[in-house]
């Protein structure tokens, strides 16, 4: 311990060990927490069209339009090891051609420190709700759920579904006149 170099070396090694221990501590103290909270989803408007899928495959497919309200209190989820919550609203349904379909209609990033009380009204979907085919028309059972990906400071990246869902049904006929 009598040269600048060996002192710097010890200091460096010690700070690295302390940081590694802190990071591991962050991870292990929050690894088994339940990160779910209740969520309330309401649907106000539902419409369906049948057009060429201009977002990709260019086949004639069903295009759904949904307007919804979401409210949830996300405050209990945030702790010392949560950096960000990536929220996403999923529409899940099955059709004749596909046993399981999941489409993300809307997403939002909530960082630690931002407003954690979610209360959105009359939200239109952010992403086009195209089906792979024509399976939305007269589909009685589309389930909307709100989930989030917990991004920690260090540790596991879990996907958590909020408790509470909303089922909706699409109409039997396509809308030709109205624009959304």
């Amino acid at each position: 311990m009598n040269t600048v170099l060996s002192r710097a070396n010890s200091l460096f090694a010690f700070s690295l060990s302390v940081m590694a221990a802190l990071t591991f501590g962050c991870f292990i103290t929050t690894a088994f927490k339940d990160r779910s909270v209740p969520v309330d989803i309401q649907v106000s408007k539902v419409m369906i069209k049948n057009v060429d899928d201009f977002t990709g495959p260019r086949e004639r497919s069903d295009l759904g339009f949904v307007t919804f309200d979401i409210s949830a209190n996300l405050q209990p989820i945030f702790d010392w090891n949560v950096k960000e919550l990536f929220l996403y609203l999923t529409a899940e349904y099955s059709t004749k051609s596909n046993a399981l379909n999941q489409v993300v209609l809307w997403d939002k990033i909530v960082l630690r420190g931002e407003n954690t009380k979610l209360n959105m009204k009359d939200v239109k979907s952010k992403y086009f709700f195209f089906d792979d085919g024509n399976g939305l028309r007269a589909n009685k059972n589309i389930t909307l759920t709100l989930s989030w990906n917990v991004v920690p400071n260090a540790g596991i990246l879990p996907l958590v579904m909020g408790s509470g869902h909303k089922s909706l049904a699409f109409p039997e006929t396509y809308e030709t006149a109205k624009s959304y």
């Binding site: 399981l100 379909n101 260090a154 540790g155 996907l159």
Partner: protein, 170 residues
């Protein structure tokens, strides 16, 4: 070194060989346990900010039984390209027999990844997936990025390490 004798030299070489093969065994072991050919990757772009920044480290698994669901962060490779991309699954259509096609998008991008896929390719499939991101540690991978962007730095570090190993034994 030469003055210490041939025995010392053999000992050093064997020691070095032990360290290298232990590291290799740990890496291969991780590959088997996680099922992924790259169990640890470094984030290279800012397309997933503010969740991941350049230089963050991701731990992946790629078990075939794990189904692909929306919201998951997947690391995939586009046919013909070497660099893997870390983005989030936006849409899935799965058939009864388990065949699934899905679409991805980076959190920080305004459009989905169809512009990145091969010409004419609209969906990704399980075979394109290198792994699913399950764990994350910030900043550690910066060293890998530095070494790639500044090859002189890589050679400098290697030379210094080599010198240190040789001199330390005295």
């Amino acid at each position: 070194i030469l003055s210490s004798g041939v025995f010392q030299l053999y000992y050093q070489v064997l020691n070095f060989g032990m360290i290298v093969s232990s590291a290799l065994m740990i890496w291969k072991g991780l590959m088997v346990v996680t099922g992924s050919e790259s169990p640890i990757v470094v984030v290279l772009s800012g397309s997933m900010e503010p969740a991941f920044h350049r230089g963050d480290l991701l731990f992946l698994t790629n078990r075939v039984e794990d189904p692909i669901r929306v919201g998951e962060i997947v690391v995939f490779r586009i046919e013909g390209r070497e660099i893997p991309i870390v983005h989030r699954v936006l849409k899935i259509h799965e058939k009864e027999n388990g065949d699934v096609k899905f679409l991805t998008k980076g959190d920080n991008n305004s459009v989905d990844d169809r512009g990145l896929y091969k010409q004419g390719q609209h969906w990704l499939e399980k075979k394109d997936v290198v792994g699913r991101a399950r764990g994350f540690v910030p900043y550690i991978g910066i060293v890998t990025i530095l070494m790639n962007d500044y090859p002189k730095f890589k050679y400098a570090v290697l030379c210094l390490l080599g010198l240190f190993v040789l001199v330390h034994r005295e």
